[in-house]
Amino acid sequence: MKNAGLRCFLYSINEQIRALAGSHPKSVLTGFKCVQTHSLQDLQQPAVSSKVFVQRDYSSGTICKFQTKFPSELESRMDKQQFEETMQTLNNLYAEAEKIGGKSYLEGFLACLTAYTIFLCMETHYEKVLKKIARYIKDQNEKIYAPRGLLLTDPIERGLRVVEITIFEDRSVGSGR
């Protein structure tokens, strides 16, 4: 959990280094080595964090949907509007993944005909949308949540039970050198 304090800070550095050094792991590591001393000096004290869990909303049945109610712990950190927008978009994306209609029936029917071996070669529609969701969450973290000292965890990492939002204490974590 204490790692999470470093995580948010390193997140922003990660992206900057990646842009500079390309995505090769070694060059990223090398690039990061020189930044480590700065990060350790900056973060001698752990960035104490707390977590907010946004639970599932089962009012529409068993489909994957999260509550859009704004948690009180985040009141000092961000806009209610932005939070609700994020949650609504997430809910829409999950609804798209689980949508039953012509396309999903066709996929299911074809899969049945091929005795489901077709999924060895291609992804299911659900998996494609999950990737889209991950990209969206990454994007939201970069633009909205990380600058406010928050971190959204992809619900799939929590078994689609909760949206975990980590709150970092306000240390001077803003600048990545």
């Binding site: 959990m1 204490k2 790692n3 999470a4 995580r7 997140y11 990660n14 995505s23 792991p25 990223v28 590591l29 990061f32 480590q36 990060s39 350790l40 001698q44 752990p46 977590k51 869990f53 639970q55 089962y58 009012s59 529409s60 049945g61 068993t62 993944a97 689980e98 039953i100 999903s104 029936y105 996929e107 299911g108 029917f109 049945c112 005795a115 489901y116 999924f119 992804e123 299911t124 659900y126 998996e127 999950l130 990737k131 969701i133 991950a134 990209r135 969450i137 990454k138 973290n141 959204l152 965890t153 992809d154 799939i156 990492e157 929590r158 078994g159 689609l160 039970r161 909760v162 975990e164």
Partner: protein, 398 residues
């Protein structure tokens, strides 16, 4: 600082050793013999053969995993082997002794159709038995603590109520708290005592299939029993036909015929009956669990109806059989990383979205900022997987 310099070449090895020390299951001696290879890039020097463990190795439920986590079954698999033996033996006898006569005297289509049915039956059986039925991963300690706080704050009486009521489509549904998994079970989920897991849309635990039947493998189970019904009727009919047409009885023929007829006769009555029952369940969008408990049956003085039904038999069937197949929420083949939250008694990797072909998913998955290198399908935690060296220092600092 020197620690960092030293740490970088060893990188992940040292990191794994330190950061999984709290896990009761992680131990250096297992990883040297672990077949979980390919976890470190070959370019990483100083590799001492200590590969990180996969999440299935520390899975808290009572399941058995084979093929390095690709296959997942219940603990007791004896009856499953019996199923396999019965199907293969009966079909084998049929193809070996009855089909040559039937192909030459009646039609070669008979063994062909029989073969297709047999392959389909085996395929569906293996798929139902080996896949994740829709197990819900257990709550992380933070989540569990948060839920406890919420529960304790609401109730004034002791003990506080551990149910939540939800209105679904006008029906009040009670969500129960699972003490083992430390979560409020979603609607239609149930905890299987044999496998010790909460399973989504839990139908029943089938010993013949050697696994629970839940959201992710219900359609395979249904196609298995349906195609098995056709196969048994097919074999039964043509064995009788063969016997009637030849009317030549030696002792071996008699023995073989009796065996096939007896197996098929009992199978027909049981399997066909079961198929009919599940067809009814699918068309009304109920689970075996709900039907047995009479959850949605008409009660006096109560307007009880099934809130999950689409109202239309065709829609219910299509959704159950051809609807989207959700991915596995337990990341069986993911690697255990230190920043993955562990559940209290044993470390457990939290849901990371694997699928039936998990390797395929991981290399393309979300956190695939390092395609091909990363096994863990997580989102935010993967973003820091570059920084193994930094993490080592972090672990030692606090």
């Amino acid at each position: 600082m020197s620690q960092i310099q030293h740490a970088v070449p060893d990188g992940p090895i040292r990191y794994t050793q330190i950061c999984t020390r709290s896990s009761s299951c992680s131990s250096p001696q297992t990883s040297s013999s672990a077949a979980a290879a390919g976890t470190e890039p070959p370019s990483c020097p100083g590799h001492r053969g200590r590969t990180p463990r996969r999440k299935w190795q520390v899975f808290p439920g009572r399941n058995r995993f084979y093929c390095d986590g690709r296959v997942m079954m219940a603990r007791q698999t004896g009856v499953f082997y019996l199923t396999l033996v019965l199907i293969i033996l009966t079909s084998g006898l049929f193809f070996a002794f009855d089909c040559p006569y039937l192909a030459s005297n009646l039609s070669p289509a008979i063994p062909a159709v029989g073969a297709v049915l047999f392959i389909f039956v085996m395929g569906m059986l293996l798929r139902a038995s080996f896949s994740d039925p829709g197990v819900l991963p257990r709550a992380t300690p933070d989540e569990a603590a948060d839920l406890e706080r919420q529960i304790d704050s609401t109730g004034c009486s002791k003990p506080p109520p551990r149910t939540r009521e939800v209105l679904i489509n006008g029906q009040t549904v009670k969500l129960k708290y699972c003490f083992t998994c430390k979560i409020f079970r979603p609607p239609r989920a149930s905890h299987c005592s044999l496998c010790d897991n909460c399973v989504e849309r839990f139908d029943h635990h089938c010993p013949w299939v050697g696994n629970c039947v839940g959201r992710r493998n219900y359609r395979f189970f249904y196609f298995f029993i349906l195609s098995l019904s056709f196969l048994t009727i097919f074999i039964f009919a043509f064995v009788i036909t063969h016997v009637v047409l030849t009317s030549m009885f030696d002792s071996f023929t008699a023995l073989r015929t009796i065996l096939e007829v007896v197996v098929c006769f009992f199978s027909v009555w049981s399997i066909v009956g079961l198929s009919g029952f599940h067809t009814y369940l699918i068309s009304s969008n109920q689970t075996t669990n709900e039907d047995i408990k009479g959850t949605w049956s008409r009660k006096e003085g109560k307007d009880n109806y099934n809130p999950y039904s689409y109202g239309n038999v065709l829609t219910n069937c299509c959704t159950a059989l051809c609807g989207p197949l959700p991915p596995s929420l337990i990341d069986r083949r993911g690697l255990i990383q230190a920043d993955t939250p562990q559940t209290a008694p044993q470390s457990n990797g939290t849901g990371g979205g694997g699928s039936y072909a998990p390797t395929q998913l991981h290399s393309h998955m979300v956190g695939g900022y390092h395609p091909g290198r990363l096994q863990h399908g997580g989102g935010t935690s993967c973003q820091l997987c570059c920084f193994h060296a930094a993490k080592i220092s972090v672990c030692t600092v606090w």
